[in-house]
């Protein structure tokens, strides 16, 4: 008993699901480079006293600015799936040109800078033309431009190095760029950060930036989608050239030196930084933040290694090993992230259900199996795909959803002819008519939608208030399931789970956590608000006849509750039926003032036992393939009728399991019961003996209309 108590509280207190949710966030991609940065700081901060201080960093600021320019350029090219090795040479060329034009020819600084950037852009254009338009290989092509530009720089140096050495002019702008700082930050770093911010906006908010990501993510798809693939790629090289040149200009300002060694190996450093930050070789994955993280890390590593006064070669060794380790981690991470995510995302919790009531045929049980549904008529057999819910309008036409995102209408009276009433998308599930005859539909994957009688589809709600501590974004609706409409027009609808999509809704059963909720949409101000949360797969909803409360089903909890949303008992919640033998789904009104309830599947002792053994389910989820997991039985179900006190008054089965075994919903209309099933290819129609032949659902809500 104690162990059960401990298990219960362990699963109540420890939020296992958070790990998987964190891993599923996109920002987790930045966590590893950030951790590497912290690790670097920790290691070198311990080795070098005074490194992690303002003055320790201040010496690096100007260089950091230059490096950020180059790494940004490299990252942009890598995002589009390329690589630019020529950045080091372009850097050197811009450096030399700046000095040549300013020191030797004494041209005004704005002109000098513009020309240097233009020159970098031209080299980028050559790269872009060759790689983008002629479709040469980026690595080899930029290697060639690396050598050519480097050689040109060498020749320029040979010819002008001595003359460049002695400035003929001074310029206040140049001195400003070279020496001035704002709050300790040199101009180079400030400009670099501004450019980085602009690049971030460009990539995340502007169409050309998206194109770069699209081309890098899947070049073929981008091409087939009609994006200008070649131009996009060429553009990235031009940008890389300009950015590398900008770095070179600031380098010239800082050192005023035209050495032949300038920028040698810079491409490797920039590549290391880009990859260390988490930008993938081959494109599609990366960001400006990653580039910045990588640049900072690389600079700290390389400068710390020099400061450590290691013996010759040790610096190279350490740099090489850091590079290898970073790429290894990156490669393994990219490859295994989804694997890891799928391993840890499913996080079962403890649920102890009382023993299920017997359903044995011929017994005295209220749930005893019978064969009354064997004789149902079938509508649309083989033409339907996933009619989860059904509804009938005042003219007796029958509506249902399909897995293809359509709402299908069968025409009365014989229901042989069908038409697509409207196309919404997603998978339309629960349905209800409002007082104006609009069809309100819960659509899995989309939210709450309205279809007007003239078939115009409009969105009512696809998000609610986000809860305070949620890791995943629970303001979005993933699996809106069933709805009902209060007399005042408010729409209460259930969302089965916030952690899984429609395609894997059954996996939520393995967790048996309160992932579901009930949301209220108020048409008066068009707001949505979560009313009840932490429900065990919130499912069917049905307004009670008092107009002040509704019944709702929790599928994995095997219980029906009642919630008062208005009146004297407003806010109260009571369990009406505690221990069903199966998994409850939709609830609907019956003509005799009771309520119909669909049991979508029946409980099994094995799965009930499994629910009380979360470790067992976790091991199962982690170690074996998903199609071998133990799932709840969803093959056979039944329809029961209960009264307001929660007493079962009737039970309908298809005992032989041939005609209509799987039931997720039922709708009474003029003496017939229409049966839906989420994975069925048919709708069942059962004649209810002794039922009121004039009673309709719409009428019971809104009164008879003419």
């Amino acid at each position: 008993m104690l162990s059960e108590f401990l298990t219960r509280w362990r699963y109540r207190l420890v939020p296992d699901h958070v790990l998987g949710e964190i891993l599923s966030k996109t920002w987790i991609d930045n966590a590893i480079p950030f951790a590497i940065l912290l690790l670097t700081l920790a290691v070198f901060g311990t080795l070098i006293p005074g490194l992690v201080t303002l003055t320790g960093f201040a010496a690096l600021y100007a260089e950091l600015g230059e490096l950020i320019f180059v790494v940004l350029g490299m990252s942009l090219v890598m995002l589009a799936g390329g690589i630019d090795l020529s950045v080091g040479s372009v850097f050197a060329l811009a450096n030399f040109l700046t000095l040549l034009l300013f020191n030797m020819l004494g041209w005004p600084i704005p002109v000098v800078i513009a020309l240097a950037l233009l020159c970098g852009g031209l080299v980028g254009l050559v790269n872009g033309f060759l790689v983008g338009y002629l479709r040469l290989r980026a690595f080899l092509t930029t290697l060639v431009t690396l050598i050519i530009v480097r050689s040109i720089v060498d020749m320029l140096i040979l010819a002008y190095a001595v003359k460049v050495a002695n400035p003929v002019a001074t310029s206040p702008i140049w001195d400003f760029i070279s020496f001035d700082t704002f709050h300790g930050l040199p101009v180079a770093l400030i400009v670099a950060l501004v450019v980085a911010a602009a690049a971030h906006l460009f990539l995340t908010r502007l169409r050309p930036g998206w194109r770069i990501l699209a081309v890098g993510g899947s070049r073929r798809s981008a091409y087939n989608a009609g994006l200008p693939v070649r131009r996009t790629i060429a553009t990235t090289y031009v940008m890389s050239g300009v950015l590398a040149a900008a770095g070179g200009v600031f380098y010239a300002a800082r050192l005023n030196a035209a050495g032949s060694d300038t920028g040698v190996g810079l491409e490797v450093l920039a590549l290391t930084a880009a990859v260390l930050g988490g930008n993938s070789l081959g494109g599609g994955r990366g960001s400006v933040a990653k580039a910045l993280l990588g640049a900072i890390t690389v600079l700290i590593v390389s400068s710390s290694l020099i400061r450590l006064s290691l013996p010759t070669g040790a610096t190279s060794f350490a740099l090489g090993v850091v590079l290898l380790a970073a790429v290894a981690i990156d490669v393994r991470w990219v490859k295994n992230r989804s694997k890891l995510l799928s391993r840890v995302y499913v996080s079962p919790t403890y649920l102890k259900l009382p023993p299920a009531p017997s359903t044995e045929a011929g017994s005295a049980s209220l749930y005893a199996v019978n064969d009354r549904l064997h004789e149902v008529e079938l509508i649309g057999l083989g033409e339907l795909d996933g009619p989860e819910d059904t509804i009938l309008d005042a003219a007796d036409h029958l509506y249902t959803g399909s897995r293809h995102g359509d709402v299908v209408r069968f025409i009365a009276p014989d229901y042989r002819r069908q038409e697509i009433f409207a196309h919404i998308g997603g998978h339309p599930l629960g349905m209800a008519f409002d007082s104006e005859g609009n069809l309100i539909v819960c659509v899995a994957g989309m939210g709450l939608y309205k279809i007007a009688p003239d078939r115009v589809v409009s969105k009512l709600s696809d998000q609610t208030n986000r809860s305070l501590l949620s890791v995943i974004d629970d303001s979005r609706m993933r699996l809106a399931d069933d709805l009902d409409i209060a007399p005042d027009g408010r729409i209460f609808f259930s969302e089965a789970t916030i952690r899984f999509d429609m395609s894997e809704w059954m996996v939520d059963a393995l967790e048996a956590r309160g992932n579901g909720r009930i949301i209220c949409y108020d048409p008066r101000d068009r707001s949505s608000r979560t009313v009840i949360s932490k429900l065990l797969f919130a499912n069917g909803i049905c307004m009670a006849n008092d107009g002040e409360s509704f019944f709702f089903a929790e599928t994995w909890g095997c219980r029906i509750s009642r919630y008062w949303f208005t009146g004297g008992k407003a806010g109260r919640r009571e369990i009406v039926i505690e221990n069903l033998p199966g998994y409850p789904d939709n609830i609907n009104r019956a003509s005799d003032g009771n309520y119909w309830l669909a049991l979508v599947g029946m409980r099994t002792p094995a799965f009930d036992l499994g629910l009380a053994m979360p470790n067992f389910r976790r091991r199962m989820a982690q170690r074996i393939a998903s199609d071998e997991w133990l799932f709840p039985n969803m093959n056979t179900g039944c329809v029961v009728k209960f009264n307001e006190a929660g007493v079962i008054v009737d039970c309908l089965w298809d005992g032989r399991g041939i005609n209509h075994p799987m039931i997720t919903s039922m709708r009474e209309h003029k003496g017939y019961l229409y049966l839906g099933g989420v994975s069925n290819n048919r709708i069942g129609r059962y004649r209810i003996p002794g039922a009121d032949p004039d009673w309709t659902g719409v009428g019971s809500y809104w009164g008879a209309r003419t």
């Binding site: 799936g81 390329g82 690589i83 060759l130 002629l134 479709r135 040469l136 290989r137 980026a138 690595f139 080899l140 092509t141 290697l143 060639v144 431009t145 050598i147 050519i148 480097r150 050689s151 040109i152 060498d154 020749m155 040979l158 899947s218 070049r219 073929r220 091409y223 693939v229 190996g265 490797v268 590549l271 290391t272 990859v275 993938s280 070789l281 081959g282 494109g283 599609g284 290691l310 013996p311 010759t312 070669g313 040790a314 610096t315 190279s316 060794f317 350490a318 740099l319 090489g320 090993v321 590079l323 290898l324 790429v327 290894a328 490669v331 393994r332 490859k335």
Partner: protein, 333 residues
């Protein structure tokens, strides 16, 4: 064996690319012969080949890596440090044969690590070998060598010295060695199972794996082989100049190696090209370098000319073998 035929494209395309290079070589060669006084002499032609023999041997090592859709950028660093270590050990009094064995072992271990990183950790070859070159240079330089430039002192007059500076019937031994390695590499690539596997992997790595080619061990083999051949090239280099300058690890030499490989028509996407392509490429580069040196062209200008020729070669390659948007590999850089 025909199962592993190199590619589905008709053979004439490769012949065409190779022919272009052969034609360029012939034109350049003839041009130099006519315009330069001392070009067309037996001794100059021999020195022409001798000067690029080391480049050629390295090219052979690189070629088999590239054919298998890899690349070995650590080849020069590996050569420099392993041979420098050999010389240092020999200078310290170790028997020359033992020193060579240890140096070779060092080279092979570096190659092995390369292979493991690429095959098992799945780091892209460009990256693994780039970083490994830096790391290996740094490690050996810091742990084993006491100078950047290691002279060949011990064993400088015996058979060891002959490797790089001897002659057989008037032909420099480095040229002979180049020929032997080329022949062996040809046999390996075309007449041995691992060789055919390398072509299969280069052509389509996934298909190769699906059909049961031991992809990972073969990748490791490639980089170990590359390291071994590089070590040999290093020995030739060291014994011809009586020293090994480890700073070539940081030079552009590895780009020259890629140049001789690619220019002959071995595509970087793997599966294409033959040993003959390396020979053709080596010959073209040798002719160019030799002619330009005779003309006293500055080294920097030589680099530009070499690079432009490489650029022309890959542009022609991309025109002859155009990449298709629908079938090209994502992330193929």
């Amino acid at each position: 064996m025909s199962l592993f035929a190199a590619s589905g494209k008709p053979a004439w395309r490769y012949v065409q690319q190779e022919n272009i290079v052969i034609a360029i070589t012939a034109i350049v060669f003839l041009g130099f012969s006519v315009t330069l006084n001392n070009f067309l002499t037996t001794s100059n032609v021999l020195s022409l080949i001798q000067n690029v023999a080391i480049l050629g041997i390295l090219g052979l090592a690189m070629a088999q890596a590239i054919i298998g859709r890899g690349i070995d950028l650590s080849i020069v660093a590996n050569m420099a440090v392993s041979v420098a270590a050999t010389l240092q050990l020999a200078n310290g009094g170790m028997p020359i044969a033992l020193a060579i064995a240890l140096g070779l072992a060092l080279a092979l271990v570096i190659g092995l690590i390369n292979g493991m990183l690429i095959a098992y950790v799945e780091i892209p070859a460009i990256f693994a070998t780039l970083a490994m070159g830096t790391a290996a240079y740094g490690f050996v330089r810091a742990a084993l060598l006491n100078d950047n430039l290691i002279y060949l002192k011990a064993g400088g007059d015996g058979w060891f010295k002959w490797i790089g500076s001897g002659q057989i019937v008037g032909i420099p031994s480095s040229v002979v060695l180049f020929g032997i390695v080329a022949a062996l590499m040809h046999v390996f690539l075309h007449h041995s199972l691992p060789g055919r596997f390398i072509y299969a992997m280069g052509d389509n790595p996934l298909a190769a794996r699906t059909t049961g080619v031991p992809v990972r061990p073969t990748i490791v083999l490639q980089y170990v082989l590359s390291a071994g051949v590089a070590f040999l090239a290093g020995i030739v280099m060291a014994t011809s100049v009586d020293s090994m300058e480890t700073r070539i690890a940081r030079s552009n030499l590895v780009y020259d190696v890629i140049l001789v490989v690619v220019i002959g028509g071995i595509g970087l996407s793997g599966g294409k090209g033959k040993i003959r392509s390396v020979l053709v490429g080596t010959l073209l580069i040798g002719t160019l370098l030799n002619g330009m040196t005779i003309m006293d062209v500055q080294y920097t200008l030589q680099s530009i000319i070499k690079s432009l020729i490489l650029l022309v070669a890959i542009i022609v390659d991309s025109l002859v073998n155009p990449r298709d948007e629908q079938t090209s590999q994502q992330g193929d850089i």
